[in-house]
Amino acid sequence: MTGGGTEVLFPIGHPKYTAPEVHLSSIFVKSGPKVDIWSLGFIVAELALGKKLWVDLKLSQCIRKVISLLQCDGTVLERLAREHNCWETYEQLPSDLKDFIAACLNVSPKKRLMPKDLLNHVLFQSIQCPKEKFTAKVYNSVQNCKLQKPLLSERKLQEIYYLWQLAGGDVQSELKKQGLIRTKAPILSLPTVVLLEGTLFGQVRDQTSMLDLRVVPLPLDNLYQRLAHLPATSYYPLVEIKSDIIQTEQQLDAATLPLIIRERDTEYQFHRVVLYDRLLTGYPYKKASILKEARKDVPPIFRGDIWAALLEVAGNMEDLYISIDKETPTHMDRQIEVDIPRCHQYDELLSSCEGHKKFKRVLKAWVVSHPQYVYWQGLDSLCAPFLFLNFNKEYQAYACFSAFIPKYLHNFFLKDNSAIIQEYLAKFSHLIVFHDPALANHLASINFIPELFAIPWFLTMFSHVFPLHKIFHLWDKLLLGDASFPLYIGLSVLEQLRDTLLESGFNECILLFSDLPEIDIERCVTNSIELYCSTPRSVTYRQHELSLATSDSERSQLEISPITVAELQSEFCPRISAADVLDLLDMNHAKFSRPKVVVVDIRPPDEFHRGAVPGSVNIPYSEDAQISCLTRHKGKIMVVAGSGRGPHACEFSRRLVGEGFSRVCTLHKGVQVLRSTNILVVPNAM
């Protein structure tokens, strides 16, 4: 706990009983068994001589005495006996005891014996048990508890405590049993009269409010029992198995249960804890495995570390964090100070005084270390989950926070972020149109735009919207997704409100968002993942997203290119890239048995007949063009392709959405962008 005495500012042990070498060294000698042996010898000496030694000495004299023992002619015990006038007692001591004390009180730490050697001392010969019997006993007891005790006790204390709590352990109730928790209201323990000198009358001083050094062992029987049937191998799960013969995936009984139940299942959590403990020790080399396991779930005890791994936090963040100036007052201090005491204050940690201080440091550190950004309200909410999970590792909270923002909220905290937010919300609208035309049509008809409700959603990645326990489950999955994933979460939240929204007018809708009903997070994430998987990537393309990949130029002309926010907002449906259309057309039938996409070509027939996408439907644009022939393609992604620029594709796609078609999008740059790909054919030849 104290790093052998090196991590605390005070010497460990009573000076009188401390070995002389400890007093002599200017820096603390690491406490260790040899120092303890000296203390043991000294205590035995006192017992043997029947006298407390150096009773009335001051501290400094006492230390001098100990040091003086370094220069004594006979044994230390002899000297002590002489000094205290008990030579007679000394003489009468059995020789093996004298020898034992001498072995302990050897002034040279090198020559002083170690505990295991001392155990072989003649003094203990009579009480030593035969070796074989002892081992047999141990073996038997190990057998009896099926290896549980020793194996479990090898786990880290925090893990055992975590599992102990899951198995029903409760420190509060244990302390209550010992009478260590005050059950009286504080006002009832106030004294009736207090004299100026400090004497109290009227109430017996409450013992529970005083320092109590009692050690209360927590009973582990319950936990042992729960884990009793587990084989020893579960304590050492195989992390990497090369052989195909051994089944790698050990299916746990609880794995299919709802998340909330899995998190409370002692045995399931035990397996997760043991596994993750090994994986995290291997981070960053085990990053891929951590990612894979995180898809299943994240055990609450390691959430902070797992998130850090998912955010690819690595390197010496502690020194970096320490080097950031978090103290010098800045102009955003007032705002941070008024925001922190309002942020997730139902939580004990975040509402504590220490929590507020940490909170302020982490936020300031982020603002100071990112001069291109400014403090926006909402950053506090965003920071809260990281701080909560890394409460005693501020630097990790900072590191995760700093890694999270560019990944999901790139440039959201610029002084002028309007372009970024407008693009984001426009994309969100497009996504609603793409997946839920009925809802989109309704919202459009009452002029209900995402600007009215979704800014706090995305600016804080829902951390301003949901309580912490929900954010944890939401972000567990969010962190596995890319920068577009939050849009799908937003859509899933809307889906849960869908029925109410559809039958509400503007005011009822906005009220619904101001006082959001319960959202089922597990359903929400499952739904988000489904939506994510069924949406072409280019539909959620954002030019303000932090782009990492640089695509080659030949392909890049098939990708989406930036358009203005005004253009984006004026369009009702999302655009799709030619590259995604090619992918979905799947000309070689490599992926799908039937194409997932139908291209609706709205060019005039003569243009269409000069070259069109195979399988495409030609509906030349006019205001009342017949679209009934598209009904049989319902469910497919419908790509409206015009001839490049011009509003026709947008107008036509809007009409399709109005008719209730889902997954409608327009082809970015029109049909001619596909010319270079050589897939266009003359329709007659199809």
């Binding site: 925001d339 926006w376 309200q377 002084k415 800014i455 301003h464 009220l511």
Partner: protein, 197 residues
């Protein structure tokens, strides 16, 4: 807008009338805008009311004499950075409550600039009320009552010191706005029927 009560009698009686209007709260962050609304709408108070991002929307219906008044309240984010969003909420608002914190002089300065902006940008017949909130913390007062009142008179604002915590003047300030609006509507209707001008 609000006069869907049918024909008005010359004496201005407005039996069974429903009056509905949009009200926006503006002011520096943490002065108590959300708390005022929460007190008025739900009669609740949270010591650590969460900060508002973007805006929140609430409604409250009250009866004034024989008129049902429905408040549609937009509660906005206080941080200066969210300023660019504010026009979206005060545009078309018929009333505004500009809030400051009596224990903080800066918030009063900020309230003044909100008033200026409203006078310039909002609809011309908007009713503006000034609320000196946190009146329960009078021992920490930094903005004198007289100072704020003088300012309010100069600019033709309704003025009250309020406390969302103790509920002091909270209903009063909303109702005062309601009455003013009602009176305004009355005047308008009267003028329509050529009793004025």
């Amino acid at each position: 807008m609000a006069n869907r009560g049918g024909a008005q009698r010359p004496n201005g009686s407005t039996q069974g009338k429903i009056c509905q209007f949009k009200l926006v709260l503006l002011g520096e962050s943490a002065v108590g805008k959300s708390s005022l609304v929460l007190r008025f709408v739900k009669g609740q108070f949270h010591e650590y009311q969460e900060s508002t991002i973007g805006a929140a929307f609430l409604t409250q219906t009250v009866c004034l004499d024989d008129t049902t008044v429905k408040f549609e309240i937009w509660d906005t984010a206080g941080q200066e950075r969210y300023h660019s969003l504010a026009p979206m909420y005060y545009r078309g608002a018929q009333a505004a409550i500009v809030v400051y914190d009596i224990t903080n002089q800066d918030t009063f300065g900020r309230a003044k600039s909100w008033v200026k902006e409203l006078q310039r940008q909002a609809s011309p017949n908007i009713v503006i009320a000034l609320s000196g909130n946190k009146a329960d913390l009078a021992n920490k007062r930094m903005v004198e009552y007289e100072e704020a009142q003088a300012y309010a008179e100069e600019n033709g604002l309704l003025f009250m010191e309020t406390s969302a915590k103790t509920a002091m003047n909270v209903n009063d300030i909303f109702l005062a706005i309601g009455e003013l609006k009602q009176f305004e509507i009355l005047l308008k209707n009267l003028s329509k029927e050529n009793y004025l001008y």
